[in-house]
């Protein structure tokens, strides 16, 4: 049996059972249609044969000498046509339909009845009935046998009753002869029924098998397609992979070697495939351990080396060794075990690592050196501080020890002057005055040193109070008068606007101005000295301050001298002290006091033209180094 199977409507959307039913239905329909066509032909053939038979057996009917075409001829033509045409037409117009089959079954049996009649009820013609039933069984549909059987039974019954000659060829027949005929027909029907059932069962089986086969084929085809596209994808991935990907079989022989591997190792795929990986890219001295690891896995499933990133040494064509990062993964497959090795040339990274380490080492070294330096500096600083403190304490205690004898010297020289005046020893008075003067100079020095050492030791407290600046200046002018006028100088004080009051250390402010003015008097001869006072700002204009400018047109200083003028014991030069007197500490104290009060002092000077000292002190002095706890203890 050839079954043309329509391609499944939707390959994936249909179950195997559904597909089997579809195949079965198609086969059945094919059988039905083919049988329809067969019967259409048969109908035509039977019609023709019926006419021929009628013409041959009784072409003419005689009534005396008159003959005419026998009625049977007409019956053959007319009835045969009527019976045959309709089903034949249906067979072409509606092939495969159940109604077509039934019509054909009825028509076929009627045609049998006609032929039996035309042959004059010949019993042999009855075989047509059995043949027809067998033919109908071609439909493999036992239901068509039912109308056929009924038609035969009815035909025999009715004609046997009314016209026995037409069906049995005898004038008189038994009333029940039709039953015998019908029984034989049923007898055949039973066989045909069984045959139809079996045939249908076989068709179903075939359909099931076909559907299963189709499914199998489709599945295989899909699997093959999947495998092919997976391979294509893998190939594409391997093709463009930046890492070397090398597939190996269980013996470690290379199966696949991607372009990155070709570039890295210098072998073509053709050269590499089939070679043992160890022989190709692993240095001779390492091959044994590599093979051991592979063997361990194969025999014991030891995966210590797998799926981990290892750093190994590989060798290029030409023998150059280089570091690689390797990951080896077993590929699970049903066949023999395979491995994929992923390798990456890490020469550059190693180099970068080394450089990074180097630079980190250098950095660390630098940091260590720096830390050492800082430690040294700290030690040095501590020592310096300790030394400064020791020096300050030494100076403080020394100045104290110096004061006691100095006290006696000054008081005795004064006493002697008084006694000399009383006793009329005028000649010794100038010498006694010199002793007194030298004593006072020494006292000034000691006081200056004491002040500086206290400032350096951080033990010079600020005594902050609100005072009237104008009153302070008036008092200052009284005190300083003899000092500024002594060399024939003129002195004037100029102030801009109301000076108001100031919150600061009155004593230190007065000391600063006193030192500057007495300096000006000391270094100016027959000149003018001015004190200008005005309001200004310091710290970039944020802090209001008072500016005191002491200007003279005395000897002046060079730039070099100006720079050092605020250092202790540095008058303009070493001869200055001898020539002009003074302790050499005055400007150092000015500078320190200004610092202490949060102010500034600066100097502008030209040799031969005079100097101008500018002091700026905040209107609101803030004590930044309150240290009462320690200064209280210095006594």
């Amino acid at each position: 049996m050839t079954v043309s199977v329509d391609p499944p409507a939707s390959e994936s959307g249909m179950s195997v059972t559904g597909r089997a039913a579809q195949i079965f239905a198609a086969a059945q329909r094919e059988i039905h249609e083919r049988t329809d066509r067969l019967f259409a032909g048969l109908m035509a053939f039977q019609w023709l044969m019926g006419i021929i038979f009628a013409l041959w057996v009784s072409p003419l009917a005689w009534e005396g000498p008159v003959s005419r075409t026998h009625l049977h001829v007409w019956a053959a033509v007319m009835l045969g046509g009527i019976i045959s045409l309709f089903p034949a037409l249906l067979a072409f117009l509606r092939p495969g339909q159940a109604s077509t089959r039934y019509v054909i079954a009825v028509a076929q049996m009627l045609m049998g009845a006609l032929l039996i009649h035309l042959t004059g009820g010949r019993i042999e013609t009855h075989f047509h009935v059995f043949g027809s039933l067998a033919f109908l069984a071609f439909y493999r549909d036992f239901r068509v046998l039912i109308p056929a059987t009924i038609v035969v039974a009815l035909d025999h019954m009715l004609r046997g009753f009314f016209w026995p000659q037409s069906v049995y060829g005898v004038m008189v027949a038994s009333q029940w002869r039709w039953l015998e005929h019908a029984a034989w027909v049923l007898f055949e029907d039973v066989f045909l029924f069984v045959a139809c059932r079996r045939s249908i069962a076989e068709m179903r089986e075939t359909a099931d098998r076909t559907a299963a086969l189709e499914h199998e084929v489709r599945t295989r085809k899909q699997a093959e397609l999947d495998a092919r596209s997976a391979r294509a994808r893998n190939d594409a991935v391997l093709e463009v992979a930046l890492d070397c990907v090398i597939l190996m079989d269980e013996a470690g022989r290379i199966v696949q070697f991607n372009p990155a591997a070709e570039r890295t190792f210098g072998y073509s795929t053709a050269e590499a495939v089939g070679t043992e990986l160890a022989n190709l890219i692993i240095p001779a001295r390492k091959r044994a351990s590599y093979r051991t690891a592979l063997g361990r896995y194969l025999t014991m499933g030891d995966t210590a080396s797998f799926n981990r990133h290892l750093e190994l040494v590989a060798v290029r064509r030409g023998g150059e060794e280089f570091p690689v990062e390797v990951a080896i993964a077993p590929i699970s497959s049903e066949g023999a075990p395979m491995f994929a090795a992923y390798m990456r040339d890490i020469t550059a990274r190693k180099q970068a690592d080394r450089e990074l380490h180097k630079s980190r080492d250098a950095e660390r070294q630098n940091a260590e050196q720096l830390a050492e330096l800082v430690d040294e500096l700290r030690v040095t600083q501590r020592r310096a501080e300790a030394a400064t403190r020791a020096k300050s304490e030494f100076l403080a205690s020394m100045s104290h020890e110096l004061r006691t004898p100095l006290n006696a010297i000054i008081l005795y020289s004064e006493l002697l002057q008084e006694e000399a005046a009383d006793d009329g020893h005028q000649s010794s008075i100038p010498d006694l005055e010199r002793i007194q003067s030298a004593g006072k100079h020494l006292l000034d020095l000691i006081n200056g040193i004491l002040d500086l050492s206290k400032i350096e030791a951080g033990k010079m407290p600020l005594l902050l109070e609100t005072f009237d600046v104008g009153a302070m200046v008036d008092e200052l002018v009284d005190t300083v008068g003899p000092l500024v006028y002594k060399n024939g100088n003129t002195f004037s004080v100029q102030s801009e606007g109301a000076l108001g009051s100031m919150f600061g250390d009155l004593t230190k402010t007065r000391q600063v101005l006193l030192n500057l003015l007495s300096n000006a008097g000391k270094f100016t001869k027959d000149g003018t000295i001015t004190l200008d006072i005005r309001r200004a700002t310091i710290d970039g204009g944020t802090t209001p301050c008072l500016e005191f400018a002491v200007t003279d047109n005395g000897v002046g200083m060079t730039a070099e001298q100006s720079r050092k003028v605020f250092d202790a014991f540095t008058q303009a030069d070493v001869t200055t002290t001898r020539k002009y007197g003074g302790t050499g500490l005055g400007l150092a104290i000015v500078s320190r006091f200004c610092d202490l009060m949060g102010g500034t002092v600066s100097v502008e000077s030209r040799p031969g033209h005079g100097s101008r000292f500018i002091v700026r002190l905040p209107l609101q002095v803030v004590d930044t180094a309150v240290d009462t706890a320690t200064h209280a203890g210095i006594a």
């Binding site: 006691t404 006290n407 008081l411």
Partner: protein, 126 residues
């Protein structure tokens, strides 16, 4: 004439101060340490005391405190003298009970002014 007690351990300082005050007509008694100063002040009943701070046996602070705590001597004005020019010394001296403060080396005219002022005040109080 008013009698002044000079408490001073340094002999030349004590001597010159005594002589100069005597030249101004003051009566002078002396003590060389704090303990002696307290004893002399009680026995001699001076009108004013010049008290040095750095003294052996008992220092000037303690002597001042004892003198100011003693009913028989508390009315006697004390001028504390210090070789340290620390301003805090002045405060401490006043706190210990001193009436005035001066630094060494002494400016004699200034010291005389203070003595005269305190004696005049004492005379008014009496």
């Amino acid at each position: 004439m008013p009698k002044i007690l000079i408490v001073e351990d340094n002999e030349p300082s004590r001597d010159v101060l005594a002589r100069r005050l005597e030249r101004r007509g003051y009566g002078v008694v002396v003590a060389v340490d704090g303990q002696q100063a307290v004893a002399v002040a009680r026995s001699a009943q001076p009108d004013l005391i010049l008290m040095d701070l750095g003294l052996p046996v008992m220092d000037g602070w303690e002597a001042t405190r004892q003198l100011k705590g003693d009913l028989s001597t508390r009315h006697v004005p004390i001028i504390v003298l210090s070789a340290h020019a620390m301003t805090t010394d002045r405060e401490l001296a006043i706190a210990a009970g001193g009436d005035e403060f001066d630094t060494k080396p002494l400016r004699f005219p200034q010291l005389l002014e203070k003595i005269e002022f305190l004696l005049a005040r004492g005379a008014v109080a009496k």
